[in-house]
Amino acid sequence: MTIAVRKEDFRYDTLRARHFGGSRLDAPQPTMAEANTSPRPVTYAGRFAAARQELMAASGRGEGGRNALRQYSHRMDALVQQLFADAGAASHAVAVFALGGYGRRELCLHSDIDLLVLFATAISAEDERFLHAFLNPLWDLGLTLGHHVREVREGATLENDNPEFLLALTDARAIVGDAALLEQFFAVSDRARTATRTLAALKSLIAERHARFNDTLYQLEPDLKEAPGGLRDLFGAQTIAMLTDPGLLNQGGAGARALEDAEEFFLRVRSILHLESKRHHNVLGHELQERVAEVLRYGGSTPRQRVERFMGDYFRHARSIDRSLRWALKAAPAPVGRNLVRAADGIRFVDGRAASERPETWLRLFQAAIDGGCGVSDDALSLVQQNAGRFTPEEFLPTAAHRDALLRFLKPRAGLYERLSEMHDSGLLGQIIPEFKAINCRVVRDFYHKYTVDEHTLLTIRNLERLIDPSRPERERFARLLGELAAPELLVLSLLLHDVGKWTDEDHASESTRMARQLFDRIDLNDDARAVVEFLVSEHLKMSVVAFRRDTEDPEIVRQFAELVGVEERLKMLCLMTLADVEAVSRETLTPWKEELLWRLYVDTYNYLTLSYSDEVIGPGVSVRADLIDGRPADLSAEQISQFLEGLPRRYLQLFRRDAVYRHVRQAQHLGLDAVQAWLEPSNSGWELTVLTHDKPFLFSNVSGALSSFGMDIQRGFAFTKPNGIIVDVFHFTDDERFLELNAGGDAQIVKLIEDVLARRVDIAARLKGREEGILRRRLPVFAPVIHCDNEASRRYTIVEIVAENALGLLYRVSRVMSDLGCDVDLVLIATEGRRAIDVFHLTRNGQKLTPSQQEEMTDNLQRVLEGRP
């Protein structure tokens, strides 16, 4: 709700007071130290009149310049503090800030008073009362008040606020109350966007204003404030410098000294104008020119001579301001983040002194350079180098948000190697990750390595980064793998750590792993990420050994290697890590010959993991199973766990963490023939649905169809069927239509539909019809689908591999074709890589592999469905 307290005077904002029924918060009282120490005046009016009298006297002497205005602003501050104290307590922390010219302490006799009243939380009725009590006396004094009322949380949308408010805010200065609120207000804002918008608004206001004066400063009756070369131009130049580079006005234009002189001159003249015209009047008309020349004691025998000399000075100062503004507009670096700008020599801090005390902001310097495709400026690097040693690793990454930012920074992108090298050279990398310091310039003598260990490590990251835009066609296959990784930053982190153990001459992979664990604890890496990085660091030599020194045509070698990596994602990461690592040894080490061997091992292992895993079922000898039994919770017996795991592919154990396995075991107990256990949980990038039930025809297609009917996009998943007919299906999906977000109890609705569909109470085909027609009508797929049947890779199953453009309901449609032909869908692997869906089905029909003619019929049917033909 918006309420105007007194409408006649507000310019940008109305006073916004919100009523919230009920509670009053016991908020901390605003600090009023200054207010309480000031002598209390007899009346506000008396105090105000005394301050004005003082400024009028100075203005009359031609001394209404910077000092006089500062003094007047100071007296106004005391008045505001007194009013604040007398207004009684607000229910929440609140503070008052001076904006615009008042913020700069250049309050003129008839200037508006711009105030920001900032509340810590939502404004209550009590706060509204406080506002009335605080603001009404200011109006009663006849002041022209521009007031803005904000809550701290509104900083989040600051960039969209009124441009004039944004500009006034650049001069914000605390007068009374909890001054920290302004920092909190900015902290929730997007500073780079706000600064960019402020600058853009400033530029466009300058252009509009200049156009009104025909773009010339040589006005015979100039407006001191508005005309080109006037006070607004001066503040404009100062604001540009403040937002982008405080030293800007020293580097070009008229120079800082000339600007100071110009400002003093303009302020003195303006004070005389206000005094003489008794109002907010800034136009230097001919009559006033004579009066000002007289007050400022210009020499000359006639008024005309005096005016000519005075106006000569006016145009000289106006030219200085104009020159500096033009320079600022031309040379100002662009804001790219909080306290960060992009200058000609790269990203730099706006306020270096403030930055030197805030190490947690330094990573953003390098992130901004990567984002902007440029470097970090030399002065920013020097600042980092000079100060990095003063801080502990924790001070660089004090919060979870900072630690997440480090991981985001490590995403392989063009420029990452160069920025990491700058961080390393300036000592920052070793301060944030002390483990890396252990290999600083470390020399290990062998016949292969050509570079120090630290540089070798950074080069591995450069090699990975170069894969993004591969130089040779043979590299494109590896580049595709990189594009498919869900968390490529973990690969970079692993590369960064893989050789840190080389500080010792002992087994470096083990030492690197030990050191990596220290880092995991410090940056509080989640369990899944830890497991991946630890695996890659500890096994980083394995793939090159197998690829280059073992007989990879021996299926047993591939089987063992597949067992080591476990799942496709790790295989891809290890493959890329090996490629990057070997290439970083020397220019000659990674030959096309080695690349081919590496790729072949990748393909063989990938095929094993996706096609042949069904033959490896869990038996009594699997050590993970013993671990699971030993570490079981009290409510599960060893027998229950053994029974559940019996006959499942070993891959199951690599896909699920211990707690998930126990949950499956628990839910599988006493699972009646028609019972369905299904639950939804949020996962990393979406949701995860788990279904345990007894197998029945069309089960897989019905469950995937039920999800699709809610608009869910299935990204990854697995389906396992145990020999006793119990199935475990897991689907990772994204909720692009935000069904679960917008519908409380939406998860229960999905589970209910699955139960209804499996119990044949709902016909999923009918439910999906509308959606499917929409999809099939939309357009032809970008690439032709691939369907491949294989009767060799598995002893028990026919394997159908489908690579097709991902689309809503794809899984439902293809698995339905299989079920329609009487096939049992026993095992499924679902993967999505970009727009490509890669689904592998393990099928039997009447317990047997499919015959060639059955395969042909199914391929034809699948082809038809994938091409959207009836």
């Binding site: 007989d551 081919e596 393909v603 095929n607």
Partner: protein, 109 residues
């Protein structure tokens, strides 16, 4: 003298080297090569699509031995490099007329 040129599986190079060293043959040239023999490569499948791998990575090991040692060396190479499967490779034996040591210019025959 004979030049014995062997094309072997990459993973068999260490065993071939060890076998030759046992015969006191230590000078050798090892090169990464790609090619195919009778098998003409094979077809691999990745994500449902077949692709032909016609040039397979192999290692070429070259040694020059006195005529009297040639048979032993050839036997040692074959024994070390054999798996019994297709793709084990080939051994070529070429007569060498003269040989010079570059450092000294000394001729060896």
């Amino acid at each position: 003298m004979k030049l014995i040129k062997s094309i072997v599986r990459p993973n068999k190079v260490d065993e071939v080297k060890a076998a030759l060293e046992k015969l006191q043959i230590s000078g050798m040239t090892v090169t990464e090569v790609r090619g195919h023999g009778k098998q003409k490569g094979h077809t691999a499948i990745y994500r449902g699509q077949e692709y032909n791998v016609s040039l397979l990575p192999k290692m070429e090991v070259e040694v020059v031995v006195p005529d009297a040692m040639a048979d032993d060396a050839i036997r040692a190479i074959i024994e070390a490099a054999r798996t019994g499967e297709i793709g084990d490779g080939r051994v070529f034996v070429i007569p060498v007329g003269e040989s010079y040591r570059i450092r000294t210019g000394e001729k060896q025959s």
